[in-house]
């Protein structure tokens, strides 16, 4: 894949992410009784993009350390090792 192609793919992925984040922000803002500026949504998308990058990096490292080639739910739960409440949320999500 060329660099230019790679860039357009990235742009499209970011646009798709922006769209999803925008919908979540709309819903949450309505619930919380606030409004969100478009700049906020953009910044949040960028933050999420970076977070996804970090998360995928971690997941890959975890799976490799376990000698696996497939990222499992254990790896995702290991992501939350420093946040007990988040781990609880994910575990309850997993049980259902």
């Amino acid at each position: 894949m060329t660099d230019a192609e790679d860039q357009t793919v990235e742009e499209r992925l970011k646009a798709a992410l922006w769209f999803s984040v925008g919908k979540i922000v709309d819903e949450e803002a309505l619930k919380l009784g606030v409004n969100a500026s478009p700049q906020f949504i953009g910044a949040l998308t960028e933050l999420l993009w970076t977070q996804i990058g970090n998360v995928s990096e971690d997941l890959r490292a975890f799976a490799r350390h376990a000698g696996r080639k497939t990222i499992s739910t254990d790896d995702v739960l290991l992501l939350t090792r420093r946040n007990e409440d988040l781990a609880k949320v994910l575990r309850s999500c997993l049980k259902r």
Partner: protein, 168 residues
């Protein structure tokens, strides 16, 4: 200041307020009890327009050799007339993860269907937590200055990001 009384400003898209399915809420307690971000846990499917975008993005690079261990997203598209709470669609998450994983050299990684779902939940919680904290920051700032229009701005996000990233 009664923030709840304010009417939401119309943006380009029509306001989207789906009915919340009962008994599908998970709250993060303790550390964030003030902010009460009620994370919706219903992430099994998403609305059609959402998926269009995701599959659009996915279709662009069909030449990638990676594959989903068990194809999750395209399988689970039930015809639900009731709108579920908006989430990042699982297919998009898969694409995004692989986009980042691909950048690295070395052996190829796959991701399980369950794990992908869990990452979705993780990111969903992340976003909703960020919004809740931003709203909290905005209310604090508005109370301090005695003015403000209740619009969450980028500066609110800037204030909460360090702690948010430590928590996630």
């Amino acid at each position: 200041m009664p923030t709840a009384a304010k009417a939401p400003v119309k943006r380009g898209r029509p306001a989207f307020k789906p009915p919340r399915p009962s008994g599908s809420k998970a709250k993060r307690s303790k550390s964030t009890s003030q902010q009460k971000s009620a994370a919706a846990t219903n992430i099994e499917s998403s609305s059609g327009s959402d998926d269009d975008i995701a599959s659009h993005a996915a279709g662009k690079s069909s030449d990638s050799e990676i594959e989903l261990v068990s194809s999750s997203a395209d399988a689970a598209e039930p015809s639900n007339t009731q709108d579920p709470p908006p989430v990042v669609p699982p297919a998009l998450i898969t694409r995004l993860l692989y986009h980042h994983l691909e950048k690295e050299q070395g052996d190829k990684m796959k991701i399980g269907r369950e794990a992908n779902m869990l990452v979705g939940k993780y990111l969903d919680t992340f976003v909703r937590e960020a919004i809740a904290r931003a709203a909290f920051e905005r209310n604090q700032a508005d109370e301090a200055t005695g003015s403000g229009d209740g619009f969450i701005e980028v500066e609110d996000l800037e204030k909460l990001v360090p702690q948010l990233l430590l928590d996630f």
